[in-house]
Amino acid sequence: MTLSEGPVAAPLLSVRGLTKLFGSFAACNAIDLDIAPGEIHALLGENGAGKSTLVKMLFGVLQPSAGQIVWQGQPVTIGSPGEARNLGVGMVFQHFSLFEALTVAENIALSLDPRISLSKISDEAATLSKAYGLPLDPKAHVADLSVGERQRIEIVRALLQNPKLIILDEPTSVLTPQEADRLFETLFKLKAEGRSVLYISHRLEEVRRICDRATVLRHGKVTGACDPKQETPASLARMMVGSDVAEVLRDGGAALGDIRIEVNNLSVTARTPFAVALKNVSMKVRAGEVLAIAGVAGNGQGELFDALSGEYPVAEDEAIRIRGKAVGRTGINGRRLLGAGFVPEERHGHAAVSAMALSDNLLLARSQSDKKAFLAGGAFSVIRFDAIRSATKRICEAMDVRKSGEDPQAGSLSGGNLQKFIVGRELDRQPSVLIVNQPTWGVDAGAASRIRQALIDLARSGSAVVVISQDLDEIFEVATNIAVISEGRLSEPHPAETLTLERIGLLMGGIHESQSIAENASGAEAAHAH
């Protein structure tokens, strides 16, 4: 046997020809995969490559249309998550499968044997969370917990069943770099105990750092298996995407113009029990600048977007100025008339109505700002369908939106194409201020690079752009200046080139600007010591 040959030990799990059809569409097409005992195995692929479908089949949530799953040498059918748990498979979902109205202990109890009492579960969870460095209060309600804490519940819940294989679906997408480091330590501990980990990600750096082997998926098929440590990020990306992704181009140091949007001591109380209050947020964005706002999910990003867009106007008129005009109490269309454009995070049911045609979704955002072009008939406001259809066509061509048919429903487009349309809908107006929340969330690499390039080009043409994002790669790709939002507070902005991943991580974790830089430095050491 030569060294380069596959796994030495008999695989814990092996999958042969696994296929899942939705109608005639093959989400997974004849997948082969082997996971050895005690290895961290990466499953790489873009959004829509079939990673989630594959692991749902391994966890019994979905039933395969064809193919075989072999567990410790025995062919098995996994009919339900319960059967998967009995075999020894644990799962940590990307969009957590938690219940906000229930306590931590109740959440854990739901996937355990009903004969075990709640108090016993609480005790075991407490012991286990201590052993793996995952502190948890069993009596806390999930609704009150941070995203990182919620992930710990999922991990502890999976560990309580003493699994041989733990599947983690994009676990670091919601964590700060420091939290991610702590997660990796936990994973190494599990590996040392002989457990296997199936680690799903599209973050190439961390895959190279922690994984022993990788399987790459594209369009539902396996396109490569490799040792990630032997590969470069570029070679892994090529396996994932199938071609080189256009690199986002920028020329450094464009001259900044006048202040386009200004926020002064903006405070907003939480509107719902689950919302975050904004505290004394201030910022200035000049023409030609891209201000990126980094932060972990659920720290007030949505609330900041609502206040900036005017979907929920704020009490103080002076708190927000767009092109010098106080607009705090002005609604979204008043701000649009001043030349502002907005792209919210959620595509379906916020930025667009899924069951409506693209042209209708164009009118959605521009019925007032483009009144002259799109409406006729004076007070009757009769819609000029010809005008909105030709504008839709123009936008789709400009942004290369791939769609079936002339004017399909928004819901029938892929995430990337719909997002290109939603961004293009604003760019088409040449906005002098653009506020974007999570511009490339759940979007394929090609579309993401196109959208990022469009944002940079817009700033270069003299507009002010605010990008709220949780994706640090994206932030470094587009930002002129970077600020961090944490618990509803916004840090001072810093020029992008002066910041490191680590500094941002500390700011994201809630180390505030009030502390001096020196304190920050020592804080960094303290955080590592933990």
Partner: protein, 304 residues
């Protein structure tokens, strides 16, 4: 005198409590069934007709429960299997129930009914004052109290109840964990139907032992309001139910005394009270948001 009033209050409150408890369980699983009125009236007619045919109000009671549960299956099939709009389907259930019960009950109009007799519990009923009120009631009253205790235990102490609350909170996550969302919801809907049927049976066997078309007279809707009023907690349903019962009986006595207010306006009192109570409860948006099952009324299609 006071004892007699209290007894009538209990009789008027019991159907509201039972129907609202059933709906509470249904809504805790995340399903909004607005067809309580329709299931109730179907329960009433099934119970009355069966009692007439068998001579036994107890078999009638069972028929009422079965009728309500069977009728709720229609709602379950449409909203759970066919994913139809829950609001519209609930309305449809009420409209169909009122029509169908009128048709079924036609031959029983004006027939004297057989009343469900009180079960006097020895010893306990001899306690002065409270004994007669609490321990010399008919079966439906005892059932209503047992249901409050049982449902409270089920929801907050049993593992199946925990699963049901989990489904009501987030059906997507529940499905991902391997909880059978649709089967649990079918059971919850049927339980709601059975309770509504029992409440209807109480109307035609205890409250006014006869068959009158539309005899539920909006009580199903009041029960729906009670669930909101109780912020989905069984004990509060009991309290709210008795509040409404007291208003109903109070206005009847006021009518009898002839206090100079037209009887129609007094009859409108329970409905007006429902509106007032709803305003008070929903006024505090925060508590409503926290208590409402998060997936209430939302359609669920599992991916397979």
């Amino acid at each position: 005198m006071f004892e007699a009033i209290l007894l009538t209050v209990i009789t008027a409150s019991t159907p509201l409590v039972i129907a609202a408890l059933g709906e509470l369980v249904t809504e805790r699983s995340g399903v909004l069934n607005l067809g309580v009125e329709g299931m109730m009236i179907m329960g009433a007619v099934c119970a009355f007709a069966t009692t007439q045919m068998t001579g036994s109000p107890y078999i009638g009671l069972l028929a009422g429960i079965a009728g309500g549960a069977a009728f709720s299956l229609l709602f379950g099939f449409l909203t759970l299997t066919l994913v139809a709009n829950q609001v519209a389907t609930g309305l449809a259930l009420t409209i169909l129930g009122l029509g169908l019960s009128g048709q079924l009950g036609e031959m029983f109009v004006g027939k004297p009914g057989i009343k469900l007799q009180p079960i006097v519990i020895p010893l306990l009923s001899d306690i002065p004052f409270f004994g007669r009120v609490l321990f010399a009631q008919d079966l439906t009253f005892y059932l209503s109290v047992a249901l409050v205790i049982g449902i409270n235990w089920f929801l907050f102490k049993s593992r199946t109840g925990l699963k049901m609350r989990a489904i009501g909170d987030n059906h997507g996550s529940a499905h991902a964990l391997g909880i059978n969302v649709i089967r649990t919801r079918y059971l919850a809907v049927m339980f709601g139907g059975a309770c509504a049927g029992l409440a209807g049976a109480q109307l035609s066997l205890v409250y006014t032992p006869q068959w009158v078309e539309n005899m539920s007279a909006g009580r199903g809707w009041i029960a729906l309001a009670l669930v909101v009023f109780a912020s989905w907690r069984p004990w509060r349903v009991l309290a709210g139910g008795y509040l409404f019962g007291a208003v109903t009986i109070g206005q009847l006595h006021a009518q009898a005394f002839g206090i100079g207010v037209p009887s129609q306006l007094l009859s409108a009192l329970p409905y007006a009270a429902t509106i007032v109570v709803l305003i008070i409860i929903s006024h505090n948006r925060r508590t409503t948001l926290i208590n409402t099952p998060a997936s209430l009324g939302k359609p669920f299609v599992p991916d397979r």
